[in-house]
Point group: C2
Chain length 269, copies 2
């Protein structure tokens, strides 16, 4: 028939969500997921009958939040970026929103093009319940020793095998990751762990946090932390910290394909 | 019988709450209120059969939040302040907590001793939905003219009759109030209105905000705002802004009776 296959235009989106009431990112039948809500809203915004597949930069677990998750989809619908944003948000519930839409090149893939990701884990260290912060921070009953937690945080900068901090049942992905930044930042009654890396294995940030909090509470030493990492055995590391303290805050792509790097444009916050 | 009436020791408490899922502060039968949850928890913490009456510094409406509401109660139960705090919090749901408890003198009354109150009203001005902030901020579709809003804000500093900014159906309290501080503070994608006064009439802050946002949107001028105030007629002012943007952030008492002013102690955040 000589039919010519045309390539559908690609759009990249930045998404913010409060993960509290979602069963994580990934589409699953009969539960509320971020991907599920977004695919439904995008199809409605496009006036589309069939499914529009959304490719996320990565899955986040049940209860984990995002200030700037990235995803892409392909559609023939000719909406301008800002029309897409408003149309998708019109169909979304109030705990997930698209904060930016850009046209993207076919070379851009939200997942495979990722260069770096940043997560922040947030803790209340005053010992007091804080209802205004309860959805996004866990609470320590006692003020931890931040100095020794930062010694652990610094120890993982560079390339390491994080097998000891990877939940079993994870996929076959390599557990060797490069960490560019890893530090605890104290701010009065709050404490935040900021970690930037080229990738993270399943439950890695939460297990690092859970283990460092044990060091901060005096239940383990920095040497225990270091030898757990070197052992590559999950049983040597500490508990997995609760999901609600974790937030995906930034994803970096190589400049030449990053749809959000156009000059004069801002994204995230 | 020559019975001697003894005075029960008084305790003052600071309370933080996310007002989203409450029908306001004031106790009402068969709905969820902050006073209701607190009185129930205090009685349980005291191991008490009857009601322990809690006197709040002021009522907040349905949906309004507090970072530092103040209240007092009298009880013979001999718990130390920190035991009270932990015992009360044990019985509270996670959207309301006691962040401090102090012993107070009989001269201290959470409501009648108030010297000043501070409220903050929070707005998202980027135009974009922000799920992480949706419980505590309203969203403006367009960036308002903050300069003219601040001209209005400055205009109410000093003593004024706020009849025009008082909801009808309010009690017989005077509508003359003194405002010590009134300003809009811009912080990137957010905008906050901070107002400190010796008191506020019913819906006063929300009506001031609703009217100033109309000025910021170009629907009214600073002169309209000023003449609305001078008219003392509610119909001349703008709409009442939504409850969810409003937060009670501080209450000041005269130093000599303030239970939270002990040297070396901190409160609030």
């Amino acid at each position: 028939m000589g039919e010519q296959r045309t390539v559908m235009p690609r759009r990249a989106i930045i998404i913010e969500y409060d993960g509290t009431d979602f069963c994580g990112w990934q589409l699953q039948p009969s539960v509320r997921t971020i991907q599920g809500e977004l695919e439904r809203a995008i199809a409605l915004a496009a006036g589309h009958e069939g499914r529009i597949v959304l490719h996320g930069a990565g899955r986040t677990d049940s209860g984990v939040h995002a200030r700037a998750q990235v995803a892409h989809f392909d559609s023939d619908c000719a909406h301008k970026p800002d029309t897409w944003r408003r149309a998708i948000n019109y169909w979304l519930p109030d705990d997930v929103s698209v904060t930016a839409v850009r046209e993207a090149s076919q070379e851009f893939h939200a997942r495979f093009s990722v260069e770096r990701k940043t997560y922040v884990y947030s803790v209340i260290i005053s010992g007091v319940e804080r209802p205004l912060h309860r959805r996004f921070r866990i609470r320590c009953r006692r003020r931890p020793d931040v100095h020794s937690m930062n010694a652990c945080a610094r120890f993982i900068v560079g390339e390491n095998d994080f097998a000891a901090f990877t939940a079993s049942g994870a996929d076959t992905e390599s557990t060797v990751k490069t960490i560019f930044r890893s530090e605890w930042i104290e701010d009065g009654r709050f404490l935040s762990y900021l970690v930037e890396g080229d990738g993270f294995t399943y439950n890695m940030v939460r297990t690092l946090v859970g283990t460092m909090l044990e060091v901060g509470a005096g239940k383990a030493s920095c040497e225990d932390f270091a030898s757990a990492l070197e052992s590559k055995e999950r049983i040597r590391a500490g508990p997995t910290a609760p999901a609600k303290g974790l937030m995906l805050t930034a994803i970096k792509y190589p400049k030449i394909i990053d749809p959000f790097r156009e000059p004069g444009r801002k994204h995230g916050s």
